[in-house]
Amino acid sequence: MGALWNVLHPLAMIAIYTLVFSSIMTPRLEGHPGRFAFIIYLCSGIIPWTAFADCVSRGCGALVLNAGYLRKLPIPEPVFVAQEAVAAFATAVISFLLLLVFAVCVGLPPTWTWLLLPVPLIALLSLGFAIGMLLSTLNVFFRDIQQWVGIALQITMWTAPIVYAAAILPPAYQALLRWHPLLPSINSVRLLMDGNLPAAWEWAMMFGWPIVVGAMALAVSRRLSDEIRDVI
């Protein structure tokens, strides 16, 4: 079925959440009335998160997975990690299109801020690409890294309000969350969904993180790129 899966997966996700959170469990979201508000909140967090997690975990294994190409063809290493980032972005875009259709169907008024949704997604996946580059380079030398990434991703997910509302966290912790690398992007997605614009510091953080991590990844891969081909 090939490409159809890219549509079926997000569709199934929305359908399941709708079933669970509108009829079985009905959590309330402060300031957002309506049966479907939590589902939209949840999906607009889960879709970027999934894209990011896929990008990092698959990106981390990308070089080892494509050892066959690396050994035999003079292709630059970032190509393989970028492939994963682009694939994750494409999936996220499709999922968002479906989510927006769903939102309109349940009565959310479309706003122009929806047009800005790709911007935080691009920022998030740039960060995913940078982390993927860093980890995949190290993973060539220490193959266990791939296993640790799975655990680290789980922890990252639950330390941030992605599947739950930020309001349930203690205020001290909420202040700390400003520095969470994923939250500016994910919060921005939610703000844009509701028709609001993110604050200036959020834009800055959103792109600051990928630049910082990207610089690190660049330094590491420059240093090790020769040796990657030796050991892969």
Binding site: L73, P74, F142, S225
Partner: protein, 466 residues
């Protein structure tokens, strides 16, 4: 349009070998203060030029550095030092499959790989027909690659790279798995590539017949270094000889330092060594030490070992070294007693070698063998076969064994094999150097015969039979 397609100078490749992955971590964490790796040099100081119209064959045992070299040139491995420049497009078919995706069909793999290599999709599609025709895979061209045999993968790979029309095509052992008719097709294609003098081929193969047929030059790599390079025939012959002489795992080619001379005190071993076909051995009762000045020559039973340099040490030497004795040097003397690398065909010559005993040996057996570059044995004898009783030696003594040879060796190049064993087990060598040294016999043009034992014919008037 420059004539030189590839220039490489001083290419070396060092691999860091870590016993454990944690060793690398320790090095990183200590910022290089802790060293946990050892270096492995896969390629050392390699230089060459590849010109348009050349087909260069690279031969050598497994692990000699052939693939490392090709990988550096194809850009999939970074050289540790040295530099190279490629003037034109180089495509390399390295090993099997060349990184195809097993889940894609042959057709999609071609398009995908072409794109990864930086060709435009339009160009790849333009070449698709040609690739399909050359590969001749039938319905398999549209089936996933995982269903291909290894031969089929190579067909696809070679067809693709041939069609993409690079200036330099690098082929690494891959063709070996193709069937005979496809191999012929590939070789024909490569011939055509170099024929019009616009492109070049670099070929690694273990099929020496193809190498000789196809290549204009052959480079023999051994342990990362160029052992021999030049015209295909002599290089391949020397290589084959090297590969098929002896079965010992330990192949060394230690070079004796030029000018190292061992002094040999006079007086001992006196009775031997005057008559032809007899052994002359000089003996030394004290451990020999290198002496700065050579002793005067020709004092009866004392002989001086000439500085090595004079006689070409063979690149094909194969040494089985024991702990009991070592061969210090070997050389050839002409009929006047002069040390020479090439003797005259009409004159007798003497083959000499010096043995140093490291432990006491009772009645050793000295042996000698002379063979051609093609492996034909012309002399093979030892003191036991000749009923020549040899004295016993103590540790540190040096014997020089001289073998007078009657004129009769044809004009050719020869290898000398020296072997020392004992009377108790004459075929168990204390030390043996197979094809350790070379010498030439020179004279009028060679006839191809192994020996020249016929003298000038006598022609007389015959009587007509009635």
């Amino acid at each position: 349009m420059s004539d030189i397609l590839v220039t490489a100078s001083g290419l070396s490749k060092r691999f860091k070998i870590y016993e454990k992955p944690s060793g690398r971590l320790a090095e990183w964490a200590s910022m290089g203060r802790v060293m946990r790796h050892r270096d492995f040099w896969a390629l050392r100081d390699f230089s060459f030029d590849v010109r348009r119209g050349q087909c260069i064959g690279i031969i050598g045992a497994n692990g000699a550095g052939k693939s490392t070299l090709l990988r550096i040139l194809s850009g999939t491995l970074a050289a540790s030092s040295g530099s190279f420049n490629i003037n034109g497009r180089l495509l390399s078919l390295l090993e099997l499959g060349t990184g195809f995706n097993p889940n894609l069909t042959g057709r999609l793999n071609v398009l995908h790989t072409a794109e990864l290599l930086g060709y435009s999709p339009a160009y790849a599609r333009e070449k698709e027909q040609q690739i399909e025709a050359f590969a001749d895979l039938g319905e398999f061209f549209d089936l996933p690659l995982r269903m291909y045999s290894s031969g089929m993968q190579v067909r696809l790979g070679f067809s693709m790279f041939a069609a993409l029309d690079p200036e330099i095509l690098v082929v690494d052992e891959a063709l070996a798995v193709g069937d005979a008719s496809f191999q012929r097709k590939c070789y024909r294609h490569m011939e055509q590539m170099v024929q019009d003098k616009s492109r070049a081929v670099l070929l690694v193969a273990h099929d020496m017949i193809s190498i000789q047929k196809l290549c204009s030059h052959v480079i023999w790599l051994d342990h990362g270094r160029v052992k021999l390079a030049g015209e295909p025939k002599p290089v391949v012959e020397a290589y084959m000889k090297f590969m098929f002489t002896g079965q010992g795992p330990e192949a060394t080619s230690t070079v004796i330092k030029a000018g190292a001379v061992l002094p040999l005190p006079p007086g001992e071993g006196g009775g031997e060594g005057q008559a032809a076909h007899e052994l002359s051995a000089a003996r030394n009762t004290t451990p020999a030490a290198p002496h700065p000045n050579p002793l005067p020559e020709g004092e009866g039973t004392r002989k001086t070992i000439p500085p090595s340099g004079v006689l070409q040490r063979s690149t094909a030497a194969l040494t089985y070294a024991g702990h009991a004795a070592e061969i210090v040097a070997a050389w050839v003397e002409d009929h006047t007693g002069r040390v020479t690398p090439s003797a005259s065909v009409d004159q007798p010559l003497t083959i000499c070698y010096a043995v140093r005993f490291k432990s006491p040996i009772a009645h050793p057996v000295f042996g000698v063998r002379v063979s051609t570059i093609r492996g034909e044995v012309l002399v093979a004898t030892n003191t036991l076969m000749m009923d020549h009783q040899v004295a016993s030696y103590t540790a540190g003594e040096v014997a020089i064994v001289s073998w007078p040879v009657k004129p009769g060796l044809a004009v050719d190049e020869y290898f000398i094999t020296c072997g020392i064993s004992t009377v108790e087990s004459p075929y168990e060598f204390l030390v043996r150097e197979v094809d350790g040294y070379r010498f030439a016999v020179e004279g009028r043009s060679r006839s191809g015969a192994l020996c020249s034992i016929v003298e000038s014919p006598v022609i007389t008037e015959g009587e007509r039979a009635s």
